[in-house]
């Protein structure tokens, strides 16, 4: 067995050896070890280097609050993560770990020269220098600072693992499975409530795991724990380990992250690495316990100096003695028990040094009985040892004066500055805190959420108090849920509650400025830095924190916040609450991105919406483009064709015979009800009252600012029913806007809105042969100019399928849109495709659609308009109902600037040299100006692959409607292009082609 492993101690399985590597060297631990406990068992304390001074560091804690022992963890290719806490990562055969932030090696790190220049690198030093010469910041100083900062290195490969997420509803969520949480769980579970109990540790039990000496209801703590967990599970409690409650959101929504594979030697197939749980709980019990505080003194960061409670955990939970000759340094009773436990396990405790003058006689007697030297009223002023502590210097303190020092040889210093309640999740709820002077700590007060906080996390120490409070708070929660809970009492023996005092930095005999007494270990913030910040005028803890970076390390202040606050308030001569506590921010512990991204990666980053006809397009080798969440066929290349060639062919064929187009992605909203027409009148600019059933109309939708937001053809299917279409990207927005108006402005209107986008497949036929092709399939209406003129709509049957047929055109050709139930889309498409062969039917995609509509001067909202364009600007004043009393945007549209003369207006452009313009290119009147030029508009659409004999463009140009025939200029980086302003209609201005 390893040198520091104590047989018969701990919950690890010493019969199962586990081999892993640290910085390339192989180590043996046992099943149940963390990297930290296994390294300590091998006598390795040096595990990392600090952020700024690159000082050697070891584990100071045994849990997730660890700031020093951060390592890189690797499992083969692609599976590497930096900054993993060695105290949390469980070992398994083959795990590779490495130290960080050192060069060339952990034992010899040249970065440690920073430590020698310590006086220079005081708090905020970088605000005061690196300013000359000016250009050096980017080129010299910043790269240097950046290279020195950062801890581990980023992964560089794509993550091969997958992640999951789930929703969960429960009556009571309990965070923390220590004695408090266990008692609360029982109280709720016996009443039949659905209870979820979570703990970040690998096993439930909390402090009980570190205190095997206690007896509960007559049983040894661990036996009681095992039985209790069985009982809870039998009562239906969902117990989740390796599960961290990371954040507490509004209305009792709690995010949990469950780690599923990081501890396993072999990755099970099909198991996500982590799972995010979104838990909506009726009641929450926070039983997160308390965190031990370090003591702040010169050299308190040397490897081997650690929290007494953590040393106890390493011993009792992992069977590891962190030192054979430890000295205890404390201001709290708890650490005395660490001394006793370690001595029982074979350590020679060098001394118990307590800062207090008065200590419980029972403790004193026991120490005496055990032969342990006790030093009361002492302070610690230094440690020594290069990569591991070898002695502690202590000095008596009398009447505020520090006496002369004495060295105590040791191989570990176990310190305790008392405990501070874990208020993190409570603070996420914006719960208020009160300051408790006796315990020198903040305690929870009120929270707006349905939540109670219990046990050590509200300042109650000891197992008995925890159980009692857990039971009582559990009962309170039961009663809040309308049941009557029972009184439960637990009998606890060999409990170790204890009391203590809290300190700022310990008194010292070192000359001021010499002491490196660390408060934030990882970020190398010392007590002196905090005092300097205060001296420089930082009076709130937020300023002190930001100026010094205290509390901003990866432990997020778990180790440093309260010590920092005590020192800052002392420096300010104020009480702690007047200086304030920095906000605890989620997540509770650093949480992998993967857990948040969950399923939403790669292909599943966002759903890809596909129409029923998409599979046909795919089979025909269409090229697709994303449009919002949809993927749409952009063009259908024949072998050897590029996009331009394909689009040219598609355009020509559509104008010559017939083209077929999948328009299913258009947004569709069914507007129904007695007030449907009134609703439409108010939403859209157009008048709808006189539109007869069976007719349709191009509708324009404005924002309340008077600018175009969306458009589409709208059919009146019957008196009280409209089939509204929207742009593909605008569907959800339009429906939201309609609902918003309906629910908040016009709740009196009797109208229902239903999104029907995915109810219909829509096949568009365009071209001179469109009617001929379609007519034989249509039952219920004759497709003649008289019976079914342009802008008609009808419910009928097409190829035996129930359909809504529209006669509309977005190309300038005779056009039909056939809507059939979505799942019949491909069937309809293939029927028409087969029948269309006699006309040479051609499938076209969005690109051809864009070209054909531009040739005809039809706008695309979002391309030819950008949210600053009125109907008048694009020559569509005809779509605005002049006699309507109101519509959305009417008042906006009436504002003087929207009525002004020289607005940017949509026009056509033809270049003088026949070249194609670039979309987005800017337009000027005077090409000779110097930069900055006065720009008067831009090119919105531009094509040279359509059916016109020269390239065409649409553009917004100031006062354009009055400038027909005039020349404007488009200055490009290499040349300036001249273009003539024309009408926006390049094809068939008289609409002759629309006639059957």
């Amino acid at each position: 067995m390893s040198q520091y492993r104590v047989s018969g101690r701990g919950r690890v399985d010493t019969s199962r050896a586990v081999t892993f590597t640290f910085d390339g060297k192989s180590y043996r631990g046992v099943q149940g070890d963390t990297v930290a406990s296994a390294l300590l068992a091998n006598g390795v304390h040096l595990m990392g280097r600090s952020f700024k001074y690159h000082r050697p560091r070891g584990a100071i804690a045994a849990g997730s609050e660890e700031p020093n022992a951060l390592i890189g963890t690797r499992r083969g290719a692609g599976r590497f993560e930096p900054n993993t806490r060695a105290t949390v990562q469980e070992i398994w055969d083959g795990l590779e770990t490495s130290s960080q932030n050192k060069f060339p090696s952990l034992k010899f790190d040249v970065g440690a020269v920073n430590d020698a220049a310590y006086m220079l690198f005081s708090a905020g030093f970088y605000y005061k220098t690196f300013m000359w010469p000016r250009s050096f910041w980017d080129k010299v100083y910043e790269p240097f600072i950046r290279a020195a900062a950062g801890l581990g290195v980023s992964p560089t490969e794509e993550d091969p693992d997958h992640y999951a997420s789930r929703n969960l509803h429960c009556d009571v969520l309990i965070v923390g499975a220590g004695p408090t949480g266990l008692a609360a769980a029982r109280a709720a579970a016996v009443e039949g409530l659905r209870v979820v109990l979570v703990d970040e540790n690998a096993e439930a039990g909390g402090t009980l795991l570190s205190e095997p000496q206690a007896r509960i209801d007559g049983k040894p703590a661990w036996d009681w724990l095992a039985a209790e967990l069985e009982a809870l599970k039998a009562l239906g409690v969902k117990v989740m380990t390796r599960t961290t409650a990371i954040a507490y959101y509004h209305q009792n929504l709690i995010g949990l992250v469950e780690k599923l594979t990081d501890h396993l030697p072999k990755l099970p197939a099909d198991t996500p690495r982590e799972r995010l749980w979104r838990v909506r709980a009726k009641q929450v019990v926070l039983a997160q316990g308390a965190l031990e505080k370090p003591l702040v003194f010169h050299g308190n960061d040397r490897p081997g100096v650690m929290l007494a409670g953590s040393a106890q955990t390493f011993l009792n939970r992992y069977g590891v003695l962190v030192g054979k000759r430890p000295v205890i340094l404390t201001s709290h009773d708890a650490a005395w028990y660490a001394a006793f436990d370690l001595q029982d396990a074979g350590a020679q405790v060098q001394a118990i040094v307590d800062t207090r003058a008065d200590v419980d006689a029972l403790l004193l007697n026991e120490a005496r009985a055990r032969g342990i030297a006790v030093k009361l009223s002492h302070t610690a002023t230094a440690t020594s040892g290069r990569l591991r502590v070898s002695s502690l210097r202590i000095n008596p303190v009398a009447g505020g004066t520090v006496g002369s020092g004495q060295e105590i040889r040791c191989d570990a210093v176990l310190m305790s500055g008392g405990w501070t309640p874990s208020l993190h999740l409570f603070s996420h709820t914006k719960g208020s805190l009160t300051w408790d002077d006796d315990r020198t700590t903040f305690l929870p007060n009120n929270t707006p959420e349905d939540c109670v906080i219990a046990g050590a996390s509200r300042g109650l120490w000891g197992i008995e108090a925890a159980l009692a409070d857990g039971a009582e708070k559990g009962r309170a929660v039961v009663e809040a849920l309308g049941k009557t809970g029972a009184q439960v009492a637990y009998a606890v023996e060999a409990d170790r509650p204890g009391t203590g005092v809290s300190h700022k930095e310990l008194p010292t005999d070192l000359s001021a400025g010499k002491a490196k007494a660390f408060v934030d270990f990882q970020n190398d913030v010392t007590a002196k830095d905090l005092r300097l910040a205060v001296r420089e005028g930082m009076r709130s803890i937020e300023h002190v924190k930001r100026y010094t970076t205290n509390g901003m390390a990866t432990d997020q202040g778990k180790m440093s916040n309260i010590n920092g606050l005590n020192i800052a308030s002392d420096a300010l001569g104020k009480k702690q609450p007047q200086v304030g506590l920095t906000t605890f921010r989620p997540p509770y512990t650093p949480t992998s991105f993967g857990a948040f991204a969950g399923y939403h990666r790669g292909e599943h980053f966002e759903v890809t919406r596909k129409t029923d006809i998409d599979s046909w397009a795919e089979a025909k080798n269409a090229v697709f483009e994303p449009v919002g969440q949809w993927r749409r066929a952009r063009y259908f290349p024949k072998p050897g064709e590029d996009m331009d060639a394909a689009v040219r062919r598609e355009c020509a064929a559509t104008r010559a015979s017939v083209g077929i187009f999948d328009a299913s992605t258009l947004g569709k909203i069914e507007v129904v009800g007695p007030d449907a027409v009134e609703f439409m009148n108010r939403m859209y600019t157009n008048p709808w009252t006189k539109l007869a059933p069976g007719r349709c109309r191009y509708g324009l939708l404005l924002g309340d600012d008077g600018y175009i937001r969306d458009d589409g053809v709208i059919g009146r299917m019957s008196e009280d029913r409209f089939h509204v279409t929207t742009t593909t990207g605008g569907a959800a927005r339009v429906l939201n806007m309609m609902e918003d108006y309906l629910q908040t402005e016009w709740p009196d209107l009797n109208v229902w809105l239903t999104s029907t986008t995915e109810q219909w497949s829509t096949v568009a036929l365009n071209g001179p042969d469109a009617a001929k092709l379609l007519a034989p399939f249509v039952e219920g209406v004759e497709l003649t100019e008289e019976t079914f003129p342009h802008m008609s709509c009808v419910e009928c049957t097409v190829a035996g399928m129930p359909a809504r047929l529209f006669r509309v055109s977005f190309t300038g050709e005779i056009g039909f849109e056939v809507n059939v139930p979505a799942h019949l889309g491909r069937k309809l498409w293939e029927t028409l495709w087969d029948a269309g062969q006699q006309y040479g039917i051609t499938a076209y995609g969005t690109e051809t659609m864009h070209v054909l509509r531009a040739e005809k001067g039809y706008i695309i909202v979002g391309q030819d308009t950008d949210g600053t364009v009125t109907p008048y600007d694009c020559g569509m004043g005809w779509a605005v109902g002049k006699k309507k009393p109101d519509f959305v945007g009417m008042r906006g549209l009436a504002r003087p600037d929207l009525q002004a003369k020289n607005r940017k207006q949509l026009v056509g452009l033809l270049t003088e040299d026949g070249s194609k313009l670039e979309e987005g290119a800017q337009i000027v009147f005077d090409p000779k100006q110097a930069i900055p030029m006065t720009m008067v508009g831009h090119v919105t659409s531009s094509y040279d692959i359509g059916t016109t004999d020269q390239p065409i463009a649409l553009a917004l140009v100031a006062g354009g409607h009055e400038k027909m025939g005039e020349t404007v200029y488009i200055p490009m980086p290499d040349r300036t292009i001249a273009a003539k302003i024309t009408s926006t209609v390049f094809v068939d201005p008289d609409n002759t082609r629309l006639k059957i």
């Binding site: 005081s122 300013m131 800017q922 900055p932």
Partner: protein
């Protein structure tokens, strides 16, 4: 005030840093000021600094309900750029970028302005059109911004995934090299120190509860938690709460207040050389000097004064980051937070006079006002001092919502920050 430089740093190091002086004193309110500025964020402190330095007005109080710089100035992700679409915005933000270049020296406070470049990725045909429009408009205005191919994007910022089969493949990007980031706290502190040295009182932890007006309607002063303070002029830069503060003077502002969240990863060695924004995919990222990836996206979708923010937005933001930068999926989120942003209908700020005489407002910065801090503070000071707008902020009036002369950057590109 001790000057900040390497020599003084060394000298003070020798004496154990005992002799540094306060960067600004803990001022208590006097009964009367020439100018009272509500809100000690970067904009308010900056305005005080420029009023004192360039307009000789030093009898100023900057009043904050909390600690200076504790609002959005101390919560933002510090993206600085000026490649906006409209001439008015380009002028305003470019004025700011000009001032950023020398701000550390101006303030004798290292604000760590880092010219690391800002790359905006296009993922759809529509993005390409829109970004090219920006590039062309910027070029003709003399504002730096250029188009990169997907391969050039990858070369500029290696963590970007440019795989053609990505859900939203990168189709190119617009790069502004003069853009970058700065240290937000240092900006607030630098202006505070500079203003205090010129006699400005910075009064913290003193909420302004109302703006009081004279019988004639003009401004009389402010009611505060520490009593009434008389003022000849009152200027409001109280991001997140501007509409509430201004309402007490009877001025209604067209603002919606919404939470905006941001987050950082654990710190790592340099891996990410610039700022990358991806609006189609909804996230942006940079790496701080400390090594943390600094990440954000759009606002939560509801109006609220609660800075807590919700989980869905964070899930989506991180998914977006993993989509564009797949190597970061195993990185960990260290901390997230939120701030309340005041959004105007056209997503451009309001800087200028108000219907109330001697009352001025600088607000509506939404999700993107940090970058404007020096430029906007500078022209706001001018407006306060001269009682008329500087040519640069003249278009950014409150009236424009009445006349319709909007500067609609949101509509133009849906670009935030």
């Amino acid at each position: 005030m001790t000057r900040f430089n390497a020599f003084n740093l060394l000298k003070n190091a020798m004496s154990g840093h005992k002799n540094w002086t306060e960067q600004w004193p803990d001022s208590q309110p006097k009964s009367e000021y020439d100018v009272v500025i509500v809100g000690a964020g970067g904009h308010g402190l900056g305005a005080a600094y420029y009023l004192a330095k360039e307009h000789g007005i030093t009898n100023i109080a900057v009043i904050d309900k909390g600690w200076l710089g504790g609002g959005n100035t101390g919560r933002n992700t510090t993206i600085i750029r000026s490649n906006y679409l409209y001439d008015e915005s380009q002028r305003l933000f470019d004025h700011s970028v000009d001032l950023w270049q020398g701000l550390s020296q101006e303030l004798n406070y290292n604000v760590m302005y880092s010219n690391r470049g800002c790359l905006m990725l296009a993922h759809t045909v529509h993005d390409v059109q829109s970004f090219k429009r920006h590039v062309h408009a910027n070029r003709l205005n003399g504002v730096d911004n250029r188009w990169l191919t997907p391969e050039e994007c990858k070369e500029y910022c290696p963590p970007i995934n440019i795989a053609k089969d990505a859900r939203y493949p990168v189709m190119g990007g617009a790069l502004q090299e003069r853009a970058g980031t700065a240290r937000h706290d240092a900006v607030a502190w630098g202006y505070a120190r500079g203003a205090a040295a010129r006699g400005v009182d910075i009064i913290q932890n003193c909420a302004v509860t109302a703006i009081r007006r004279n019988a004639g309607g003009s401004v009389a002063g402010v009611e505060t938690e520490k009593g009434f303070i008389k003022a000849k002029k009152v200027a409001v830069s109280a991001s997140g709460h501007n509409s509430m503060v201004m309402a007490t003077a009877g001025v209604r502002l067209p603002l919606e207040s919404m939470p905006l969240q941001a987050l950082v990863s654990e710190p790592v060695k340099p891996i990410f050389p610039c700022v990358v924004m991806s609006n189609a995919v909804h996230a942006y990222c940079s790496q701080s000097d400390k090594g943390e990836l600094v990440i954000g996206s759009g606002t939560d979708q509801y109006v609220s004064y609660s800075q807590r923010g919700g989980l869905p937005l964070i899930e989506h933001t991180i998914a977006a980051i993993s989509e564009v930068f797949p190597i970061f999926n195993r990185m960990r989120m260290l901390r997230k937070w939120g701030g309340i942003t005041d959004n105007t209908p056209d997503r451009s700020p309001i800087i200028g006079k108000t219907p109330v005489q001697n009352l001025y407002v600088n607000c509506g910065w939404g999700t993107g006002g940090f970058k404007a801090t020096p430029g906007s503070a500078h022209v706001f000071a001018y407006t306060i001092a001269k009682d008329e707008p500087h040519p640069i902020n003249a278009p950014f009036t409150l009236e424009r919502f009445r006349t319709g002369r909007l500067i609609d950057e949101a509509a133009a590109a849906a670009v935030a920050h």
